[in-house]
Amino acid sequence: MKFKAFLTDNGVNLLEKRFLPALEKMGKICHLYLTREHAIFLHNLLNGDGIQSIAQFRKEALFDDYRISSQNDDRIAFAIDLSLLQRALRSIIAVYTEFSASHSGGAGGQPSNRLQIKLVKKLPPHSQQPMPFLTFESKGYKSAVIQDVPISKPLSRSDVLELQAALDMAQDMPRTLVQVPDMNQLQNFVDRMKHVGDLINVSISKYGDLHLQISTTLITLGAEFRKLVRIGEQADMPTGDQNLSAQSRTDRAIQRGDAMTVQVSVKHFFKSLQCHLVKPDCAFYGIAVEGVCLTVIFQFFIPGTRQTDKSISLHCRLPVLDPGSS
């Protein structure tokens, strides 16, 4: 089982500034799943109850000179602590950029400094048992810096198969997706909203409406966003519904089969909004077929264009607490 690659500057930037801070909010521990073509960060795919998040990078998005081999179809997966990974990466970047900066003015030589990442087994101090690590290495001008991030034992063949199966399962697309108008503002709003209750009802209609509501015996607090950009199945709102209250408009749309409602944990919903730390270009919410989960899909554009960057993808699946009415 071998893995060795060099992190590109773009890859360093993507991980350190954008993805690791966001993924850490999903949960401290995640699986890193490496295949011949992809590196994938996975949260809660093997244990059912938390929010699932799937951040997938094509190898070119992060690495060059990417080499992987294993007896399991060149697939390796292990659990890793994201905060340790982030700290290791930060410290190594500090050395790396310092060295690069001191050499950038040089006489056009090939930058010899590169940031290597590899899987190793080492004997930790005071231990007889070799342990697996993900190691970062950067050779400086006078010194080399090595950061070892402890990882779990690589997953067994059957666990990797299970992980792959869960990943395949998590690719279903909701029939209708609505675009979040202002991620920051919505996050701010839900942050305040979460003080009044623990469960939130999320309704999404084919008319492009997103309706959020927390309802307890003491208070009902809701927000309705209308005429949002839609992807997938669409319908026009019947004219009579324009002047109704948000609640009755949603109820009628559900009766007509034009909308679905699911109940999720406010905490999960807030976490899904925190994903905007990855600086996506847009975000879409949708309810999976038969209301099995609430899905949020983030879209990334190739810089300077409006074309989707297919080498990066991120989506989350929020477990539904009550099947609701659909």
């Binding site: 709003f189 305040r192 909203m193 009044v196 623990d198 469960l199 003491l218 208070i219 607090l221 927000a223």
Partner: protein, 356 residues
């Protein structure tokens, strides 16, 4: 001729406010105990929840809205939101409708309507079809926030906080929140610590100036150290206010009127008075002053009334965030201010030295 019976369906009050943050600030300053509003669990029985949320009484009238909060019959706070603060105010009730509402829930809910950097207009309606308090945002057609808060039949106010002046001249002083810092003559601290058999005298001449905090709040926060009961002494010669705490140590904080007129901007006292107040109640009067009030720096006025009843007044600006120049120009619109008053009963104490 015109009677409310003509329109039996019209609610008691429909009003709109364009400074939600100002209202959040005003109500936050009387929300002195966070644990009055624990998190709601859906499986908590309703009666238990209602006991948790036993906190504020709201009274509606043609003049505006008053919110009253009480604590164990010794502390009462009132927030006055006059009708002039509202963009529109349609009052249709006879008498003065009152209802009970969870203050914590109400503030948390209102806070949801206040989006930073944007003035948001909110509409209140009472009662809704099931006696709820209804709120909704009205400034955007394609995004709407709404809330329905359950109300209760209010508790009776346990004692009457009739505040009466203590004599012909009022006994009062006004403390500016922020002031120029002079390291030597501002506030004097005398601290005596009892350590085993030794008595250590510590004299501290100044508090570290904290630009975000208020002088009064800092002084009261510092008094936490000596103990549960604080004596406030006003005396005409030399004109000064003394806060004295005695417990496992003594701490005395003096505000001298003539020494720094930037700190005490007003002082009225014709005879020496001294009363004791429970520390936790005194602290409640300043512990939640929002930073906007401190920045506005209108000062807080403390008055001692008949029998030692202490009144603490704060002013909260409800100006729209889009017009900050109003304050910087020194022009303060009187109609955009919410008044907050705290009343604290003194401790029963024979040895107060207030004459006979």
């Amino acid at each position: 001729m015109s009677s409310s019976a003509v329109e039996p369906d019209s609610p008691d009050l429909v009003c709109q406010l364009d400074s939600v943050q100002g209202m959040v600030d005003a109500l936050t300053s009387v929300r002195w105990k966070r644990h009055q509003c624990p998190k709601i669990f859906d499986d908590t029985p309703l009666e238990v929840k209602l006991r948790f949320y036993k906190d504020a009484v709201v009274e509606l009238s043609e003049h505006g809205i008053v919110l009253i909060v009480e604590d164990t019959g010794c502390l009462q706070a009132k927030v006055y939101l006059q009708r002039e603060l509202f963009v529109s105010y349609e009052y249709n009730a006879q008498g003065r409708p009152r209802f009970g509402v969870s203050l914590g829930l109400f503030v948390d809910c209102l806070n949801t309507f206040s989006v930073p950097g944007r003035s948001s207009t909110i509409e209140f309606q009472y009662p809704g079809p099931d006696m709820q308090l209804l709120l909704k945002s009205v400034d955007s057609l394609d995004a709407c926030i709404y809330a329905e808060i359950r109300t209760r039949i209010p508790d009776t106010i346990s004692w009457d906080y009739n505040f009466e002046p203590a004599g012909s001249t009022p006994l009062s002083f006004t403390v500016k929140h922020l002031h120029k810092v002079d390291p030597f003559d501002q506030v004097s601290y005398k601290k005596k610590e009892k350590k085993k058999s030794l008595i250590v005298d510590v004299l501290r001449l100044n508090i570290a100036p904290c630009p975000k905090s208020s002088a009064l709040k800092e002084a009261i926060d510092d008094l936490e150290w000596p103990g549960s009961s604080i004596q406030i002494i006003l005396q005409p010669v030399p004109p000064s206010v003394t806060f004295r705490g005695e417990g496992h140590g003594d701490l005395q904080i003096d505000f001298m009127y003539y020494v720094n007129t930037d700190l005490l901007i007003a002082f009225n006292c014709d005879r020496r008075v001294a009363y004791r107040y429970k520390y936790k109640f005194l602290r409640a009067t300043t512990s939640n002053i929002p930073s906007s009030v401190i920045k506005d720096n209108r000062g807080s006025k403390l008055t001692i009334g008949l029998g030692g009843m202490l009144k603490v007044q704060h002013l909260v600006s409800l100006a729209r965030p889009s017009h900050p120049h109003i304050d910087s120009a020194g022009y303060q619109q009187p109609s955009r201010i919410a008044y907050i008053e705290f009343f604290v009963k003194p401790e029963v104490d024979e040895d107060t030295g207030n004459g006979s």
